[in-house]
């Protein structure tokens, strides 16, 4: 993952703020040139004789989503990480209610918050009043927050994306949205034509002066549709060709027995261990906390939807050389246990050899771990490790925690 440039939010924060002004400048410039600084043009969306709002917004969504999905397919950006960072979680009912209220405010004010800023900047006092209204409204919300707080936090679904709900890969969903947009745009052009004709016939001729002309151009329309179609096709092709070299899992991660042992004892809740051996063997003896799912049935788990953030550890009989396809889309890290269950048997299920008094601290540490595992898993008590070597001249001090260092 190359993008985004994390340093712009952390080490080079000032530079990041300059970038913010530049990106905002482009945002405001495009909005103004699209006609979004004029309330009558925006409001026209709701009277159907000018669908610019719909076309520009939907077109922007399609462009950005196809773009980000393609970058993600190339392995340059991690889609889910970026999305979890850049979007808010889904609060279903607050968003339905908030959206409805914002729509009402939109048709009354003639602007949405962003376009009111553009309108104010181009000298339209109504835009300035709408923007001041947004500031006042936000303030009222903060003041009255205790009244809303319960509803504000209601129906939190966490981070949910359309591709999660549809059980489809993100590029397929982005491509489907693009195709839907092309169909909708064709419909929008027809609706616009019908309703502006109707207004003219009813004797209203002023509305056209109020929305001002835009550059109608067949080539622009056709090339936009062709671009969307082409990018959607490429997005789908990347799926077929499996171009993505497992963007989020660049190589097979192996987990050493000692590491697994430590984590099983200390933080089992951060692991999801799946034992891929035959059921009988797995039921007879397995790593604590592991699920018994034979390799052939792995796809039934829908591992791509596990949002728990745990590390996935796959345990085979002996060694597993590659991550099975069914686990490749697991959102978190995927590990393969080194030497598989056989390795576990000799590491944790056989009595460790007691280290002599002359053994190194590392050996003693390893003995402690293995003894703890062995006794907790088999119930057999082990002799305590030898005491630390007597403090002699220049004896290596045992590694201590950060506090004393």
């Amino acid at each position: 993952m190359i993008f985004p440039f994390d340093s712009l939010s952390a080490h080079h924060r000032e530079f990041g703020l300059i970038v913010a002004v530049i990106i905002g400048f482009a945002f405001g410039f495009v909005l103004e040139r699209a006609g979004f600084g004029r309330a009558p043009k925006l409001a026209a969306q709701f009277y159907l004789y000018d669908m610019t709002v719909f076309k520009v917004m939907f077109g922007a969504i399609v462009t950005a989503s196809l773009g980000i999905v393609l970058f993600s397919q190339l392995g340059l950006v991690d889609l889910r990480t970026l999305s979890n960072w850049a979007t808010s979680e889904t609060f279903l009912w607050p968003m339905i209610a908030g959206g409805f209220l914002l729509g009402i405010g939109f048709i009354i004010a003639g602007y949405c918050p962003g376009t009111s800023a553009v309108a104010a900047a181009s000298g339209n006092l109504d835009g300035l009043f709408a923007f001041i209204g947004v500031i006042i409204g936000s303030f009222i919300y903060s003041e009255a927050f205790p009244l809303f707080s319960k509803f504000h936090e209601a129906s939190n679904l966490g981070h949910v994306y359309l591709y999660d709900l549809l059980h489809l890969p993100a590029p397929a969903v982005a491509a489907a949205v693009a195709l839907m947009a092309i169909l909708c745009f064709r419909g929008a052009d027809k609706i616009e034509e019908y309703f502006s004709e109707r207004l003219k016939r009813s004797g209203n001729t002023e509305f056209e002066e109020n929305i001002l002309p835009e550059r109608h151009s067949r080539p622009a329309r056709q090339s936009t549709f062709a671009t969307f179609g082409g990018l959607a096709l490429i997005a789908c092709l990347t799926l077929l060709l499996n171009v993505r070299p497992d963007a989020s899992h660049p190589s097979v991660l192996t987990l050493a027995q000692a590491e697994l042992g430590k984590r099983v004892l200390k933080e089992p809740w951060r692991l999801r261990i799946i034992d891929l051996r035959e059921r009988e063997a797995c039921f007879a003896a397995r790593i604590p906390g592991s699920e018994c799912i034979p390799l052939a049935e792995l796809s039934t788990l829908a591992l791509g939807e596990d949002m728990s953030g745990r590390d996935l550890v796959l345990v085979a009989g002996i060694d597993l050389h590659e991550i099975p396809a069914a686990a490749a889309n697991y959102p978190g890290r995927v590990f393969i246990l080194e030497k598989g269950f056989e390795g576990w048997k000799s590491f944790a299920l056989s009595a460790p050899k007691h280290p002599g008094p002359s053994s190194s601290p590392d050996e003693i540490e390893s003995y402690r771990l293995r003894a703890a595992l062995y006794s907790s898993l088999t119930g057999a008590k082990q002799a305590p490790p030898p005491p630390p070597p007597a403090a002699g001249g220049g004896s290596p001090k045992k590694k201590s925690g950060g506090c004393s260092g």
């Binding site: 002004v21 945002f27 999305s83 968003m95 001041i132």
Partner: protein, 174 residues
Amino acid sequence: MNESHSEKPFWNPYLAGMALGLVLLSSFLIMGRGLGASGAANRIGVAVVDAIAPAHVSANPVMASLKEDGMHPLDDWLVFEVLGVFLGGAVAALTAGRMKLGVLKGPRISSEFRLAFALTGGILMGIAARLARGCTSGQALSGGALLSFGSWVFMFSVFTGGYALARLMKREWL
């Protein structure tokens, strides 16, 4: 309306949409963030109240959270982005011959009423954007492009609300 002939026509909406999409895509790629507007308005409000009555801000946990660690409420990415929106909007209007002080409205409503409506609608949107965690820019556009479920629900809801009230507001626009 003679001077309107010197105005440049608006961009073709499809090309404008692609241009807006590219701006949004660069924001995602460079900063890992989407575009926004209402969040900045909220911070401006808190900053104003903070300048007049700092104790009031500190007493309100929602507002106080914007100046945690001694940060100024305006010291935020989104505020700078919206500063850019103002600059970009102004430059675009100037260079297109559209920079003109005035009130935009339908022919059947007075300027005073139009301004009162603009303020009222703005207040409703301010409340709504807080409830929905964003407005049409931050929630619908940016979240929609990342295919967030809540953003799409929000977007449909915005259009539903607008169409529901459009008939009643016809005098303001037509």
